[in-house]
Amino acid sequence: MSDIAIKLLLSCGTLAGAFGIAGLLTWVERKQSAVMQDRIGANRATIFGFKALGLFHAIADFLKMLSKEEFIPQGANKFLFNLAPYLSFTFALVAFAAIPIGDRLIVGIRTIDLQAANLNIALIFIFAMMSMGVYGVVLAGVSSNNNYAFLGSMRAAAQMIAYEITMGAAIMGVIMVFNTLDLQMLVHREGAYMLGGWLPKWGIFVQPLAFILFLTAAAAETKRTPFDLPEGEAEIIGYFVEYSGMKFGMFFLADLIETVLVAALMTTLFLGGWQVPYLLPDGFYFPWGGHIALSNIPVVLLGILSFFIKVSFFIWLLMSVRWTFPRFRYDQLMNLGWKVLLPASLVNIALTAVVIILLK
């Protein structure tokens, strides 16, 4: 019984965390772009005279979206049209279940893995869920009875499939090095040290090429600039032209949730998840000989903190990328995906295999 309660609590926590961060990202995106471009950014929404650095704009946006007319175009397939945003949204959210956010927490006799679902196929599960997101995009285009939306969704689907393959092939190297699909186990194995105990065995150090490939593919997967051809907010007609009100808002939010998801996934795979450098389950062991003993709870809390810091870093990076680079042309996008990233990721797999065999 209490097992279920704990799981429920964990799932709700993860869900709320993912949702909250994604909601906050609308603000982060505005403010970060503003600060990068020497502006101030949205700061006019007030509640009782408090501006709170423009945080209320997220709420204002939400209310605006809710109060708008939900328009369904003539001839659209009503059921699929209404279903599509929920599909993109839900699958992005569900994938969070398999992401470990912390170490094992020991409460009394109980050991709680800070992961909503301890799946031993976590990685496959996440990728399956992310691929399902394509259905939301395709259905949105197909069901809205608009040729432009249809074309947009075809473009989006082609792009997402191209980059998903790269993404899957890029993490293959990581899987081979750590020899597991279970993300909690993978993070545990990332706690090992190389080079005489100085360098943590994080994915980015053992698989640098895979990291770059994954980062690129992930940016494309979240449909953000420089890969935002499916959306092209102002100029290109995307798959969700016909959507209005909160359904449009859900597509928007799904993108931000995907950004958080990709950041969390990159943290887990390449930056050691909740690992803090030199922190073992019973305290810090520094390679220069120091030792600070810590009990279980501060260690776990430090782990969660480190996870959030790393996720924030990746979110910052993705946002910077989005506000720095111009968009690819469509043929460049496809060339990059199929002719550069995919072969590179296959080469990476081969190289990793050879190195692993040689090191045995």
């Binding site: 990068m36 101030i40 720095t324």
Partner: protein, 200 residues
């Protein structure tokens, strides 16, 4: 030979040596060069996008962290004189205007608060938008002769050229109020009469 395209093609064919064995490999290269015209060929390293990506992120990050640092310092009340953003928070904070900027018109006054204008019709004549309409009347003072009984200026038509100011012999009309936000809800309220032009 006088066809420039043909000439360029021959040059390229010579340069890429498309006659030899494995010509098909160089043919693609030649086609690319043909398409790209005289643009500089990117090197392999540049073609990976990596150098430009890094320099781009570096540039925006420099701005980001500099501005963020100053924003935080401002919040705790430090370095107030260094600006972290180049924008002006408009309604509260006005942009300093250039001294010669032409802004909304005003009619200057004599000591007794009557308009300086002598209704000479120069501005009405010169105005390219024909937006000034003066009704002249006789002034009791014979030295002044005339005064404008009504002075209508339609800001909805005005192009802010400033000719009216330049041409006025009496320095009676000026464009130095510093007012830029002359927006109104109707065309009628864009039409200024003598009274409105003499306020301020």
């Amino acid at each position: 030979m006088d066809n420039p395209n043909q000439k360029r093609r021959q040059e390229l064919e010579k340069y890429f040596d498309v006659q030899g064995p494995f010509a098909f490999l160089r043919l693609a290269q030649m086609k690319r060069a043909w398409r790209q015209g005289n643009r500089r060929q990117l090197t392999w390293w540049e073609n990976t996008y990596i150098p430009t990506l890094i320099s781009g992120i570096w540039l925006t990050s420099k701005h980001f962290f500099r501005n963020l640092g100053f924003h935080i310092l401002h919040l705790v009340g430090l370095c107030k004189d260094v600006r972290a953003a180049v924008t002006y928070q408009y309604p509260e904070q006005k942009r300093p205007l250039g001294l010669r900027l032409r802004t909304r018109h005003r009619l200057t006054k004599r000591e007794d608060d009557s308009p300086r204008c002598v209704a000479c019709m120069m501005c009405e004549t010169v105005c390219p938008a024909r937006c000034i309409e003066i009704t002249a009347a006789e002034h009791p003072d014979p030295n002044i002769e005339k005064y404008p009984a009504e002075f209508i200026l339609d800001l909805g038509k005005c192009v802010y050229c400033g000719f009216c100011v330049e041409v006025c012999p009496e320095d009676a009309i000026r464009m130095d109020t510093g007012i830029l936000n002359t927006s109104e809800y109707s065309r009628e309220s864009m039409i200024y009469n003598k009274k409105r032009l003499m306020e301020e």
